[in-house]
């Protein structure tokens, strides 16, 4: 199959993302035309304040209410997509995804604990809630990894999915228990865990930024190891990859991305499945190209899903996680059905 050249793919996806962001910023109780959205955005550039004649109320709506949420959707979508790519590469399994393998629930449990205990230690820009979420995600991934290992070789998909499901249930139960025991924070946890971008603004964006950026840098480093790992861990070792190091950095970067997404927007499932697989169809499996393509697709997907979530039942707002599940769960089942062979592992 002839593929579209990589640079053209990237530029096209960036343009699509830009367009959909501008469109997204115009959506809401006050509709704003794309032209005025652009005007409002550019008005912050020194010397261009009055160039487009956009009212200050419009500027306020765009900058103070909508932009942070749109950027949050962008980063969350990208983070979920790259962590999907990394988990699929690590487990050599097309069904691996932060939500499916329990990383999201682990992150949710970590974040819940942090909220209830009102943890306040932070390292520079690394805030406590995402930090606790990261710890939870690392623990979850480590546990799934250890449980699904069958001596040597690739973990069979069944073992991986069952371990992920069981751990997810366990962590969700723990979250529910904590919620039941601390009705003081019930409201806060409940709304956050639904997986919604509603009411999210600059503070959430700044809180997730260091985590997402760190994970993106690590993701850039692990693309070639992920290629080599597709031979299986033993063969990868024989090809000169120190598998232990690679595995560790992959788990850290994927957990960082997952927890950044979960800590700021709750559990949003299946983006880590939809984006990587679509990206593979467009650009092929080489991770150096797959990773950025999937990130952009994830961002586009989540911004689009959030637009829908805000408008289908307006003025009521759907949690965006509901929409990604409606799209993603059937896709997951389709993968499960069409790739029966992966279920047995090797």
């Amino acid at each position: 199959m002839a593929r579209i050249p990589f640079p053209i793919t990237l530029v096209t996806l960036v343009l699509i993302l830009g367009l959909i962001l501008v469109f997204s910023l115009g959506l809401g109780p006050v509709r704003i035309s794309p032209y005025r959205v652009m005007g409002a955005l550019l008005s912050r550039i020194p010397g261009m304040e009055e160039m487009f004649g956009v009212e200050s109320s419009i500027k306020t709506i765009v900058w103070d209410f909508r932009l942070a949420r749109a950027l949050l959707a962008t980063l969350t979508g990208a983070a979920l997509a790259v962590s999907g790519v990394a988990f699929q590469g690590l487990f050599r399994n097309p069904l691996a995804e932060p939500f499916v393998i329990g990383a999201s629930s682990g992150a949710a449990l970590g974040a819940t604990v942090a909220i209830v205990l009102r943890l306040s230690l932070s390292f520079g820009g690394f805030r406590p809630v995402p930090l606790a979420a990261f710890t939870g995600a690392m623990i979850a991934v480590g546990m799934v990894y250890i449980i699904s290992q069958t001596g040597s070789g690739t973990p069979p998909a069944v073992a991986l999915l069952l371990a992920g499901t069981a751990l997810s249930s366990l962590f969700s139960a723990a979250v529910s228990l904590i919620m039941a025991l601390s009705d003081r924070d019930l409201h806060q946890i409940f709304f956050w865990i639904l997986g919604s971008l509603g009411g999210k603004s600059w503070p959430q964006l700044w809180a997730m930024l260091p985590y997402v950026l760190t994970s993106f840098i690590l993701m850039g480093i692990i693309t070639r190891p992920l290629d080599i790992m597709s031979f299986g861990e033993e063969a990868a070792q024989g090809m000169g990859l120190s598998v232990r190091n690679a595995r560790f950095i992959i788990v850290v970067s994927a957990s960082l991305a997952t927890s950044a997404a979960v800590a700021s927007t709750g559990i949003i499932g299946f983006v880590g499945l939809l984006a990587p697989h679509t990206a593979r169809l467009i650009i092929g499996p080489v991770h150096r190209r797959l990773m950025p393509t999937a990130a952009l697709l994830g961002a586009i997907l989540l911004v689009a899903a959030d637009n829908l979530a805000r408008t289908v039942l307006a003025p009521m707002e759907l949690p965006v996680g509901v929409l990604t599940a409606i799209l993603g769960a059937p896709f997951f089942l389709y993968l499960l059905r069409s790739r029966q062979s992966v279920l047995g592992g090797e």
Partner: protein, 270 residues
């Protein structure tokens, strides 16, 4: 040129010893065959050779230095392994797979250099896959896929090439094609270690044979000294007949079955 040797090598899985006291020397330019029944330790020995498993006792030495003292990438620059199962998780093309063979020389992030690309191209051409280079590995025939894996190993520019059952699932044509290629590489100076089940193929290609039995070296030597009725019957626990191959004078081996059809039962009703 590199040499690989083992000294009093013992290997174990989960406390169960599978290789006992192996002393071998792999030299450049030789085609070495590992023979022996299932479970005799051929694959384990291959894994120990390229540092995938760590010996419990003894050493594997690459150029007189213990292989454990090398970084994983340094080992892979000199030793390449093509293992038995080569199931890739994702649908890479031949070219993309052979590119990965340059990993030991490039590491995690540096882009492939001009030299890397020419090595990759050479590996693809040598294995006769040039016109298939943009095809996805899963769409190739067994013989082509196996050659792609060998091309990837060659792209590592190794001094020693280890092939674990490279022709097990191939038909006659590809068995000969793959082993001819490997023989050519050995003649050109590569140290080659191939594990084979097919004794006749081994007889055709091997310079040296290593006959393994229950994790021990049973005998080492040329095809004529190793492929004897006494050795084979002892190691494979099966009666064999050995004749001379009229084509090349090498031993030709066939197992003997003691199951006989009773002559009476052949009188089928007309």
């Amino acid at each position: 040129m590199s040499t690989l040797e083992t000294e009093n090598l013992f290997c174990a899985y989960n406390g169960e010893t599978v290789l006992y006291d192996i002393n071998l020397r792999i030299e450049p330019g030789r085609f070495i065959c590992l023979l022996g029944p299932n479970g005799s330790g051929k694959t384990t020995l291959m894994r120990a050779f390229c540092r995938i498993i760590k010996p419990v006792k003894g050493v594997v030495k690459l150029d007189r230095r213990s292989i454990q003292e090398y970084h994983a990438r340094e080992v892979a620059q000199k030793i390449a392994l093509v293992s038995q199962s080569n199931r890739l998780a994702w649908p890479f093309t031949v070219h993309q797979i052979v590119n990965m063979g340059r990993f030991p020389h490039r590491g995690w992030v540096s882009p492939l250099s001009h030299e890397d690309h020419s090595k990759v191209e050479e590996a693809i051409r040598v294995t006769g896959l040039w016109e298939h280079r943009n095809r996805i590995i899963h769409t190739l025939s067994g013989g082509e896929a196996q050659r792609a894996m060998i091309a990837r190993a060659l792209a590592q520019s190794p001094r020693i090439l280890l092939l674990d059952e490279p022709v097990a699932h191939l038909d006659l044509k590809y068995k000969v094609a793959v082993l001819d290629l490997v023989k050519k590489l050995a003649v050109e100076g590569l140290g080659v270690v191939v594990s084979l089940h097919d004794l006749n193929l081994a007889a055709m290609y091997a310079d040296t044979m290593v006959l393994l039995s229950r994790g021990r070296v049973y005998a080492v030597g040329g095809p004529r000294t190793i492929l004897t009725k006494k050795n084979l019957e002892a190691v494979y626990e099966t009666e064999v007949v050995i004749k001379e191959n009229p084509e090349n004078g090498k031993p030709l081996i066939s197992p003997v079955s003691r199951w006989k059809v009773s002559p009476l039962k052949l009188n089928m009703p007309q």
